[in-house]
């Protein structure tokens, strides 16, 4: 069973070369599928009209969905950002010039026309640049998705504006976790203490930097 899975995975990447068509049907990327399904599936509508010409055909779920905004052919001037938290949408389709996100590989700047990316975020500073204003938030962790139509989705578990951070708590937490890291015995304890140290030092540098 596993040999088949591996074979299919390998053959997915060599699309047109293999003889058996069934295992190499390439599913289209979501940006290639035509977005406009508002008229519904034409074969279904025709079949319906033959059977019940006086009743409107029922709408299918895809007709209720807003189509994905298409990828523009020229570079858009603004980035559309959706910055969401589990309990609130901080920014919903906000048009901005640039967003800098704290990816695990370092601070990453996202401008309009950025190549489609999926980035895992580490605890750090997120800054949203619009004209001359910069709004900064401290994010606990999350993901950033950049799509080819210059939409950026930033998902975070917790995001706080910098002025709501309590510096005394940060220092206390930092010293407490550094001490826990030194005295930790099991791997899990060490990992938790390391996470604590990382988060508090990121908070610290966000406050001072």
């Amino acid at each position: 069973m596993f040999r088949q899975v591996a074979h299919r995975l390998l053959s997915r990447s060599t699309t047109n070369h293999s003889a058996c068509a069934a295992s190499t049907i390439r599913r289209p990327y979501s940006t290639e599928v035509s977005a406009d399904a508002s008229s519904g599936d034409s074969a279904f509508v025709e079949a319906w009209k033959k059977v019940a010409p006086n009743i409107d055909p029922p709408k299918t779920p895809i007709q209720f969905m807003e189509p994905r905004p298409p990828t523009p052919s020229t570079l858009p001037s603004k980035l559309t950002v959706n910055f969401v938290l589990p309990y609130a949408a901080e920014l919903s389709k906000a048009q901005v010039d640039m967003v800098i996100v704290p990816a695990t590989t370092g601070q990453m700047g996202i401008l309009p026309g950025h190549v489609p990316t999926i980035a895992e975020l580490k605890p750090g500073l997120l800054s949203v640049h619009e004209g001359n204003d910069v709004k900064k938030y401290f994010i606990s962790s999350g993901f950033a998705f950049v799509h080819s139509n210059s939409y950026a989705d930033i998902l975070a578990a917790e995001a706080i504006p910098l002025d709501r951070i309590d510096p005394a708590q940060v220092q206390k937490g930092l010293s407490e976790f550094t001490q826990k890291l030194n005295s930790a015995s099991t791997d899990l304890d060490k990992a938790e203490a390391q996470v604590g140290v990382d988060v508090h030092s990121a908070l610290n540098s966000a406050l001072t930097g």
Binding site: S141, G142, Q169, G196
Partner: protein, 70 residues
């Protein structure tokens, strides 16, 4: 198709991503200033009951709660 990506330290120690993310979020919430901190903590309170099943019959449910029992 061997994956050569470096494993983050918390995963090699046995922690899952969700646990890691929740720990980070809790630590950040602890460092909030006062009125926001109590709002955040009350927002994240959970109260649920878990029932394990064996042989098609429910066992005694356990209640997990952050709110004080009254």
């Amino acid at each position: 198709m061997a994956s050569t990506a470096a494993v983050p330290f918390w995963r090699s120690a046995g922690m899952t991503y969700i646990t890691y993310s929740n720990i980070c979020a809790n630590l950040v919430r602890n460092c909030l200033k006062e009125p926001y901190k109590s709002e955040a903590i009350s927002r994240e309170k959970v109260h649920f009951s878990v029932t394990k099943w064996a042989d098609g019959k429910p066992q005694k449910p356990t209640i997990r709660s952050d709110s004080p029992e009254d």
